[in-house]
Structures are given as structure tokens and as C-alpha cells.
């Protein structure tokens, strides 16, 4: 018992100390860590290591900061900016990719969030619609003429609510060594693609790979959209009416399903894993985005010689374009400082740096790929070629309902894949559901 008292005697003051801390929380920790509460974050002088007292700290969120390779290169870019001037200090915030959109949306809606925010297209549109982004039309100094054509997607009623951070397009990535071993040529039509996938699928090796599970809902939607667009279908017509059960979409889904049914893809395996399989030479072909080749080569430099690139061999040239936007949070106390950094991002030199950091993606400026870069990154010209045919996955006219439409469609495609439901029947059902979502 005496020992027990001794232990308690030690523990109890600690409890009291903590309780005391607990009472003063709103103000105390702010001084300790220099960044408490979103609103206060921007004033957090302590956070800037070389702060001169006048420096304003702004936070910038992006899921890419945590990724090996890309993350470090982006951090270098930010460090250089921070060192180049002493007015604004940019602090990077990485939020896990699978939960990014919902986390940011919760924070914005709750009155907080980082000052500068990177978004996928549909949460960006949602944020604009809910007036959670600052109108930066007059703060951006770069002439719109200098920027790429898709810069227009950041405007609403002639006001600018963001800049394009990255635009990713989709192309066909092939392991030509595996194709040669199987005795097939690079495919130029869907039929040839199917044939090539069949020929290259042998024990432990897969002809193709794409996303096909609800566990990767967003990525699945990107991938499936490529098929729908490539088969000349779309999710909505230009007036925003759902066109999900059209013959084109049905043909696309059947073609997509064919690859699953025949076992030409590693079923159930997520993108991170099958891309890893690809750099080990276990996957012959993928329809994947412009940032992927750099990742494959970074992990296995030798694979560079095996890889070849081509536009997606489907009938129509339209392909998925992932647009990532950068906007300024309306909750921010330092929109000017945020815009100052965004102006820096738009400089020509910085743009080239951004492009390289991202592995060759298109960025806000229309830039010709430098020749020596095109040589060492042979996929760049191919992706540049397909970029003009890029099409957002947000259904035209129903952008704000992207997530709901996505879930409704994918749930039905899931039934096609896993329960053997007829394609047309499933798409009819999806069409009806989407119509009721749109009507609501």
C-alpha cells in the first residue's frame, strides 16, 4: 500500500498540471507551437524559422507533399521561395490522398482550413459554388493570354477563383519488351489492345491493369471515364442531361468488363500495387496518367528502356483530364500573401520547376517541352499530343453533383463486374438513379 501511495503521489501532480493546461488551452499552446487554430495559423510568427517579425506565414495543402520523390521536389520549390524573400513564409500541409477532398471540405465548411488549397476539379467547383474561395481576379498579375487554354476552367462569371496547378492526361503505357516477347505489335485499336493483353497475360504476368473497386472510388472513375470517352460516350450531354445508358457508354463498359472477365488484369489489386508490378515488369500495358512514367522510372531506372507510350487506341481521342486547381481559402486572413505566392508559382521559371517536380505534367502555362527534356522523358510529347482532347471527369452541367453521380454509376458497374448483371440493365438503373439525383 505504501508503494501505491508513492506512485500516486507522483501521478497526481502530473494530473493537476495537465488539468491546469486544459483550462488555458485556447491561448496557451498557440504561443508554444506558433500555430494554433486555423485562423491563428496565419499569424503564427513562431513557425517561421527565419522570421523577421513582419513575415506572414501561409499554409498550403496538397496531398502530393507526402509522396516520395514528388514531395521532396515540391518542398525544395517551396524552400527556395521562402528563402527568396522575407514577406511570406509558405508552410506545406500534406493530407492523405484517400481522404483529401472530404477533409478539406470539412475544414472549409467549418470555418478553417489552410490558406492555399489544392483541389481536384469537383471539390474545387463545390468550393467556388459555396463561396469558399477568394475571388483572385485582381490579385493575379500574370496575363491570362500567357496561360494554357484550360486556365479558363478556373473562371466563373468572368471572375478567377484559382489557378491550374496540374493538368494530367491519359495515354497508353506499354512494356514493349513484354509485347515483343509475346509477339504482338503496339495496339492501335481496341481489338488489338484486347489481343495484345491476351497475348501478354501468362502465369504471374498481366496484360493490362486498371482500377475497378469501390475502395478506390475516385481513381476508378478516372479510369472508367477514359473508356467511356474513348468509345465516344459521355456522362451527360452539353445541357447536363445524364446520358449514362447510351449505346456508347454500354459498349465502353462492356469492353472494360471484357478485360476483367478474361482475367487480363490483376483483380482486386489497387493502383499503387499494380504500378509497382509494372515497374517490376509484371504488367504489360496500362492506360495511365502523365505522372506515372516518371514514378515507374524513378523506382526502377532500367525499366525506362522497356517502356513505350502512345495515345489511347480507342475510337474517339477524348481522354480523362485530371485538373488540379490551387485556390485561396476565403477563411484565410492573408489572401494577399497567398496570392503573392501564387503569382510566384505562375512565373515562367517556377512553372518549369513545377512541371519537373510533378514528373512532366502540364501546368498552368502552355509550355513547349524543352528538347533535351523530351529526349530523357519520351512520354512528354505523347501526352502533350493528347492534352487538347482532355475532358474533365466532372459531368458537364452537373459538376457539383460529380461525387453522387460517380457513386451511383460505379455501384451499378460494380454489379456488372461482380454479380453478372447485364450491362444495359445496370446502366439503365444508373441512369434512373442519376436522373433522380439531378432532379432533387
Amino acid at each position: 500500500m505504501a508503494r501505491g501511495i508513492k506512485i500516486l503521489g507522483l501521478v497526481f501532480p502530473l494530473i493537476l498540471v495537465l488539468a491546469a493546461c486544459g483550462g488555458e488551452q485556447p491561448t496557451d499552446p498557440a504561443e508554444d507551437v506558433g500555430a494554433a487554430g486555423d485562423e491563428e495559423t496565419q499569424t503564427g510568427e513562431g513557425a517561421a524559422p527565419e522570421g523577421n517579425g513582419n513575415e506572414v506565414t501561409v499554409t498550403w495543402s496538397n496531398w502530393q507533399f507526402a509522396e516520395p520523390g514528388r514531395g521532396e521536389r515540391l518542398q525544395t520549390l517551396v524552400d527556395e521561395y521562402n528563402a527568396s524573400q522575407d514577406e511570406v513564409f509558405v508552410e506545406t500541409v500534406s493530407i492523405p490522398y484517400p481522404r483529401y477532398a472530404e477533409t478539406i471540405t470539412t475544414q472549409l465548411g467549418g470555418g478553417g482550413g489552410p490558406d492555399i488549397v489544392n483541389f481536384d476539379a469537383d471539390p474545387f467547383f463545390l468550393a467556388v459554388d459555396s463561396e469558399f474561395l477568394v475571388d483572385i481576379t485582381d490579385m493575379i498579375e500574370v496575363d491570362t493570354e500567357e496561360l494554357a487554354r484550360y486556365d479558363a476552367t478556373a473562371f466563373f462569371d468572368d471572375r478567377r477563383y484559382g489557378i491550374v496547378w496540374e493538368a494530367l492526361n491519359y495515354g497508353l503505357i506499354m512494356n514493349k519488351t513484354l509485347l515483343e516477347e509475346a509477339g504482338v505489335e503496339a495496339p492501335t485499336t481496341y481489338e488489338e489492345l484486347l489481343e495484345a493483353a491476351r497475348a501478354t497475360t501468362t502465369g504471374g504476368q498481366y496484360g493490362f491493369a486498371f482500377r475497378h473497386t469501390l475502395a478506390e472510388e475516385t481513381g476508378w472513375w478516372f479510369d472508367l471515364s477514359n473508356w467511356v470517352y474513348g468509345f465516344c460516350g459521355s456522362w451527360t450531354d452539353s445541357e447536363g442531361n445524364p446520358t449514362i445508358n447510351t449505346p456508347e457508354v454500354a459498349e465502353a463498359v462492356s469492353a472494360y468488363q471484357q478485360f476483367i472477365e478474361e482475367g487480363l488484369i490483376p483483380r482486386g489489386t489497387d493502383a499503387a500495387t499494380y504500378r509497382r508490378m509494372a515497374w517490376e515488369g509484371l504488367v504489360a500495358m496500362m492506360i495511365d496518367n502523365s505522372a506515372v512514367p516518371a514514378i515507374l522510372i524513378e523506382e526502377t531506372p532500367e525499366i525506362a528502356d522497356d517502356l513505350a507510350y502512345a495515345p489511347i487506341p480507342f475510337e474517339c481521342p477524348e481522354n480523362t483530364q485530371i485538373s488540379i486547381f490551387t485556390g485561396v481559402n476565403a477563411n484565410s486572413e492573408h489572401p494577399e500573401a497567398a496570392a503573392q505566392f501564387m503569382n510566384y508559382l505562375l512565373q515562367e521559371d517556377t512553372q518549369e520547376q513545377v512541371m519537373l517536380a510533378l514528373g512532366g505534367s502540364a501546368t498552368a502555362r502552355e509550355m513547349d517541352t524543352p528538347e533535351e527534356l523530351a529526349e530523357s522523358n519520351p512520354w512528354l510529347p505523347v501526352y502533350a499530343e493528347v492534352a487538347p482532347d482532355g475532358k474533365l471527369v466532372a459531368p458537364e452541367g452537373q459538376e457539383l453533383l460529380t461525387a453522387e453521380i460517380r457513386t451511383a454509376v460505379l455501384r451499378q458497374v460494380d454489379r456488372v463486374i461482380n454479380e453478372g448483371v447485364d450491362v444495359q440493365e445496370a446502366l439503365d438503373e444508373a441512369q434512373a438513379e442519376v436522373e433522380s439525383i439531378v432532379a432533387r
Partner: protein, 318 residues
């Protein structure tokens, strides 16, 4: 955790001079002062958000504008009841809850009985068995997703090597097996706490009772029925109740593994709540799903209390 265990016991063969209400104090202020911090705390951090959730459930509100929703009365509740997913989600939630509770009880009871007998290395075994409880859920989901991988997963390898299945099967993307996989992980994660609580109850059974029954020549099954089960019945009830309401609200493990797929096979109520509120930004509708979940839990709790009172009357006063 053993609140009603205590109540049952004190009602039964109440030991002299202890337990609640034996000696009511004169000073009525003291008990309130003592619970005041906890009460204030829970009012702020649980009651207020819950009420806010209840309010949201009566509105059409976007996640991006949580404070400017439109009042729609019971429309969201109506939408849930008429939704084609209602039955499906209800069914999956029930199966998931029932199976994870039964699984945790079975494995937990087995582990508790095994750890109750003295043997060398018992401390080590107890610690080892607790590992799943200590393992962080994010880490757990990641390793199990890899272990259940269709092509390279060790679970497929083991099951095939042992002859349980002929060839590698599909798990997390297979509507017939995904729920089994998710349940496996769930049971693995929660059986240790079940085992520890039951073990604690087992150790409280006086040795004399075992001795008496062994003199009577009872076999192990009989001992279990006549000595062990009555001894731990109150604890068993309470832990069952906790496992049930915890299972009804469990989210991370399922979301990290399947997000409710494939073909809705693992889509429980809370998974739908998260998807509606956070993916589709339909905060009001999501809150409604949450309130339905709370309601179901409350009903389950009421049922358990009814059962425990009946057992109490029958079992102990007899």
C-alpha cells in the same frame, strides 16, 4: 465496464457494508460537485454535438455550409425509409454486428479460459494476445489489405497450402468473401479486450467453487455450465452490450479496407453515413443516418437491460 455486473451482484448476495446506496450521505452537494467536471465536459463535447447532429438531420445541409441548411422536417428520415438501399444496408449492418460480436465472444472466451489456468509463460501469452488491441487501426487495415491480396496475399497462400481452397481466391473485391475478410479483421482487433474482461471475471470466481464441483466429479463441460457461466454471466452481458454498440458504429477498419464495396457487400450504416456526409457533401442526410444508428443502438441497449433484469431475477435470487 462492469457496472451492471456490480449491480447484479450487489442485488444478489450483497456483501455487507459496500455497494451503492448502502449509506446515503447527508451532504447532498458532494456527489454533484464530484460529477460536475465530467458532466460539464460531456455536455460540451458530446451532448452539444449530438443535439447539433439531431438538428442537422432535420435539414438539407451541405458539408460546405453547415450553418445555412434548409429545414425539411422529417424528409430525410422518409428518404432513408424509402431508399432502395435501406434494406440492404440494414441487413449488412445486422450481419456485421452480429457476426463480429459472436466471433469476438467465441475467440475471447476461448482465450480467456486458456489464460485462466496457471502455466509457465502466462504473462507472455497475455501480452501477446493483447497485441491486436494495441495495434493501430490504420496499420492493421494496411497489413490486412496486403495479406488478403488476391495474387500475392499470404492468406491465399496459407489456405491453398493447407488445402482449404484449391486455388487463390478473391477476397476484398469479391461480394461473397469481402464481408468475411472484414469480419476477420474486426474480430482479430476486438477479441483481446473481450478476452481480458472475461479473464478478469473468471479470476473472480472463488477457487472453492471449482473444488466443490470437481469433488462432485463434474466434467469440464459441466463445470463450465454450473460454475463458470453463472459466475461470469453479468460480465458477459455487459461486454456483449459494449461489443454490440461498438460494432454498430465501427467505421475506420471497414472504410480503409473496402469503402463499403464490392457491390455493397460491406456497406454498413456508418459507411453510408460517411459517404453521404463527406463524399457527397450531404451533411443533413448523413446526420440522419447517424441518428438512425444511435436509435438502433439505444434499442439494442434497452433489449439488453431487459434481458439482464430477467436473468437477474431468475438466476441469482433463485
Amino acid at each position: 465496464m462492469t457496472e451492471s455486473a456490480v449491480r447484479l451482484n450487489t442485488h444478489g448476495h450483497a456483501p455487507g457494508g459496500q455497494g451503492e446506496g448502502r449509506r446515503p450521505r447527508k451532504r447532498v452537494l458532494a456527489p454533484y460537485l464530484l460529477i460536475a467536471p465530467a458532466v460539464v465536459y460531456l455536455l460540451i463535447f458530446q451532448a452539444y454535438p449530438l443535439l447539433e447532429g439531431g438538428r442537422l438531420s432535420l435539414t438539407q445541409t451541405s458539408l460546405l455550409q453547415p450553418r445555412s441548411g434548409r429545414f425539411v422536417g422529417l424528409a430525410n428520415y422518409g428518404e432513408i425509409l424509402t431508399s432502395p438501399r435501406f434494406l440492404e444496408v440494414g441487413l449488412i449492418t445486422s450481419i456485421y454486428t452480429l457476426a463480429s460480436v459472436l466471433g469476438a465472444l467465441a475467440l475471447g472466451m476461448a482465450a480467456a479460459l486458456l489464460m485462466n489456468r496457471p502455466f509457465r509463460g502466462r504473462g507472455f501469452v497475455r501480452s501477446a494476445v493483447t497485441i491486436p488491441w494495441a495495434a493501430p487501426q490504420v496499420a492493421v487495415a494496411l497489413i490486412f489489405v496486403w495479406m488478403f491480396n488476391n495474387q500475392y496475399g499470404v492468406i491465399n497462400f496459407l489456405l491453398t497450402s493447407l488445402g482449404v481452397q484449391d486455388d487463390y481466391g478473391r477476397w476484398l473485391d469479391n461480394p461473397d468473401r469481402a464481408l468475411i475478410a472484414v469480419l476477420t479483421v474486426t474480430v482479430w482487433k476486438i477479441f483481446p479486450i473481450t478476452a481480458l474482461v472475461l479473464l478478469a471475471a473468471l479470476q473472480a470466481i472463488p477457487d472453492e467453487l471449482y473444488e466443490a464441483s470437481s469433488i462432485d466429479g463434474a466434467d469440464p463441460v459441466n463445470v463450465f455450465k454450473t460454475v463458470i457461466l453463472p459466475g461470469i454471466a453479468p460480465t458477459l452481458l455487459v461486454i456483449t452490450l459494449f461489443l454490440t454498440i461498438w460494432s454498430l458504429r465501427r467505421f475506420e477498419i471497414i472504410w480503409l479496407m473496402t469503402q463499403g464495396g464490392p457491390a455493397g457487400a460491406t456497406g454498413t450504416l456508418v459507411v453510408d453515413l460517411y459517404r453521404e456526409a463527406f463524399r457527397h457533401s450531404r451533411l443533413g442526410y448523413g446526420a440522419t443516418l447517424g441518428m438512425v444508428g444511435v436509435l438502433v443502438s439505444t434499442l439494442a441497449t434497452a433489449a439488453f437491460f431487459a434481458v439482464s433484469q430477467r436473468l437477474n431475477r431468475k438466476g441469482i435470487t433463485a
